[in-house]
Each structure stands twice: as C-alpha cells, then as structure tokens.
C-alpha cells in the first residue's frame, strides 16, 4: 500500500457499514416505489434515477470511510416528445435529491427563455442571476431549453444567459442542479452548437413515447386522482379511442389523454344535466359512461375535437 501513498486505500479496514440501514434511513426506497406506482412506463428514466440514487448513496457511505471523491455533477437533460412526463419527473427529482442529501431544499424552479433572457443590453445577466439565486438549494428546470440559443440572430442575448448558466453549473455544483428539457431533435441541435453545455451535463435521459396500453393505465390513474372512474364499456371505448387519437396530428401523449378526459367529464356533466329529473346517486356522479367517450369527434369524423388540442 505504501507505494500508492494513500492510507485510505487500505482495504483491510475492518469497519463495516450497513447499506440496507443507510437505504432505510434515507427513505429513498419509498420514493422510488412511489415513482414506480405513479409513473407508468418510462423504463429508461426509472433506471437512470435508480442509478443516480445508488451512486449518491454509495457516495455517502464512502464519506463515512473518509474516502473523498468529488461531488458528482447531477445536471441533467430530459429529451422527449410532449406529454411524456419530463416536468413530472423533474418535480420528483427535487424530492429525491433532497432525500439523498444532495440538495438542501429540493424545490423546483421552472423557467423558460422569457425568464432568463432580457430585452436589452445589460438586462440578461441580472435576470438570469436572479433566477439562479431563486433556484439555489433546489432544482432549476429550464423547459424548451433550445430556445435559449438562436443561431440565426447573432445579437441574441441567449448566449449571454448560457454563459452565466455554464459558469454557475461548474462553480456552484453543490448549490444547484440544472435540468434542461426539450424535444429530442431540437435539443440535439442545441447541444451541437453549445459543446460546453453538453459536456457539463452528466445525464442525458430520453423519455420514450407511451404505448396505448400505458396511456390507458395513465388515464385510469388520472381519473382515480379526480375521484372519477370508467364504466366497463367506457374503458373499452377509451382503449378504442387511444389508437385513433395517436394517429392524429398534435398527439401529446399523457397531455392529450388528460384533455380527452377533461372533455369526457364535460360530456358526462352535460348528460347528467339532460335528464335532470332523475335523482342522481354517487355512482352516477363518479362514473364516466361509454357514450361520454364515444361522442368524441375522433370517432365520428376522424378529426380532432373542435374545442381543444392545438398544442
């Protein structure tokens, strides 16, 4: 060992630490389980979160043996289509990192280009810094991050904002975790033109699209959370609805499902109103019937419902 010159690498140290006890103490298993329960699908995302959790936990154990190692960078980029749960996961990330003792507060500050980039010279730096200060101790979530950089306009102030971000991401690693999110192809372009950004982000996580089956599962979870439920026929109708809707333009995964459910609730309320003479039971109030789903224009005309979904 002497040739290594580091007594800490002496592996004959007899002290033992209990990984399991440490896991219990951090409550991390509970939150990972919750993640499994409440987030459908998203295999690669969950795996990555598990890995990060494991790394941080092991890091904590290593500290007990006074094995110093640099604080790992945890800046992340979430790429994926709309409605695949990027924001939801980012919100959880704050909680997870807090439990692991990586960030102190664990709050999430969600910003877009408007919040970071100023309108005139000298406006950008204070604006960006203010946002960063607000996010310190927690997670800074930059949605649609690729808008920050506009290569076609060389006088754009976005670059200044990126520069400040880079500096903070490097120097204040203990204080702040930055998560960038956006569509895959646009984010790729963004990283291509900002190699500094790419190299400072350790975790690139891709959010896959949901399958129809997963979306049905999500729909049921969403309804349950709002104290509604499908009747058996309605569930069947909704599972017919999903593949049709997925083929149409502007399909935004879970977000489209949420909108479809909102409209079904609207129709349910209308239906209950239509025969107002009838006394309603609790069962009537919580059940969405097949006709509420089948009335969607997706079935009748094969086009989107007129009132929504332009996002």
């Amino acid at each position: 060992m002497s040739d290594i010159g580091n007594s800490n690498l002496n592996d004959t140290d007899e002290t033992r630490v209990d990984l399991e006890a440490e896991l219990k103490a951090s409550n991390i298993q509970e939150i990972l389980d919750q993640l499994d329960r409440e987030l459908i699908g998203l295999k690669p995302v969950k795996t990555r979160i598990r890995e990060v959790a494991a790394l941080l936990l092991v890091d904590r154990l290593r500290k007990k043996f006074e094995l110093s190692s640099e604080t790992p960078t945890l800046h992340m980029s979430f790429t994926g289509n709309p409605g695949t749960g990027k924001t939801t996961v980012a919100m959880r990330m704050g909680e997870i990192l807090k439990r692991l003792g990586y960030v102190r507060e664990g709050h999430l500050v969600t910003v877009t280009r408007d919040d970071l980039v100023g309108q005139y010279i000298g406006h950008t730096a204070p604006k960006t810094k203010e946002v960063i200060k607000k996010a310190m101790g927690g997670v800074l979530f930059i949605d649609e991050a690729y808008y920050l950089y506009k290569p076609e306009n060389e006088r754009d102030y976005g670059a200044e904002s990126i520069e400040i971000l880079l500096q903070i991401m490097e120097n204040n690693r203990d204080d702040l975790v930055v998560i960038l999110a956006g569509y895959k192809d646009k984010m790729d372009k963004f990283f291509m033109s900002n190699p500094g950004m790419r190299s400072r982000i350790a975790h690139h996580v891709d959010f896959p699209d949901y399958s129809a089956e997963e979306l049905l599962h999500i729909a049921k979870l969403m309804l349950a959370r709002q104290n509604y439920r499908f009747s058996e026929a309605a569930e069947k109708a909704f599972s017919d609805y999903l593949p049709l809707r997925m083929k149409l333009p502007h399909f935004a995964n879970a977000r489209s499902v949420r909108n479809a459910l909102d409209r079904a609730r609207l129709r349910q309320a209308n239906r209950l109103f239509a025969d107002a003479k009838k006394k309603l039971s609790k069962f009537d109030l919580i059940t969405i019937e097949a006709e509420d789903v089948l009335a969607s224009r997706v079935f009748t005309e094969g086009s989107l419902d007129a009132d929504a979904e332009n996002a």
């Binding site: 102190r104 507060e105 203010e130 960063i132 200060k133 607000k134 101790g137 927690g138 204040n172 204080d175």
Partner: protein, 144 residues
Amino acid sequence: MMTNPGNRVTQGQFSFLPDLTDQQISAQIKYALKNGWAVSVEYTDDPHPRNTYWEMFGNPMFDLKDPAGILLEINNCRKTFPSHYIRVTAFNSTRGVESPTMSYIVNRPKNEPGFGLVRQEGEGRNIRYTVHSYATDKPEGERY
C-alpha cells in the same frame, strides 16, 4: 482609556462578536428566509452611526429558498468593495411592520481609525459634543 480596542464599528446585530464566518452568515440568512423576509446587501464607507441609508448592492432578493444565492451576492460585493462596510439586511414586509428586522455587518475595513470627540462652544458656557469619524476626512471612495 481605550474602551473599544481596534475601534471596531459596533452597529447592528453581532457587532460586539468576532466577525461572522460564512457558515454563520448562512445560518442567519436561513433564519431570515424561513420567516419570509427579503434579504438585501448594502455597503458604505461612511461609518457614522447616524448614516442609516447605505448604498444597495443589487436589488433586494425576494422568493429565495436557500442562503447560497445571497452568500454569492455578499461575496460579489466583497470582491467589488473589499474595504467597505457591508451589511446584510432582512426586510419584513408584513403589513404594519414593514421595516428591517435584521441587520448585521459582514465585511469591514482592515483598519478602522475610529471616532474623535468634537467639542463645540455654544452660547454662554454651553459645550456641544458630537463624534467625528476620522475616515471621513478623506473623500468618498478613498477612505480606507
């Protein structure tokens, strides 16, 4: 008789204690944030006790959750004005209170020349007393 060796200016909280460490400053800021007070950083090079309005270093910081952001600003201010007085103020905006609730010095010049006693002869045999900071003999910006 020298009652205040080093002529340290004593105003605001903790000013009779040794200088606060960054960690201690963070803990104090954390207390202010926990109570929902807006924290700001101010500086001056006029140590007179009646000089209550100091220059603001940037805007007051609202809606922060963690002291790290404010500590960053304090360190920026220290870098810009290494030998000025710098203080941290917490402002309570509750209706009816609306005033600073904490204020403490986080940076001071290496040498504080202190104050001299000035006597002014008034009418009759009256003597008026006041204090005068030796530092303010020089113009602003060249005092320390």
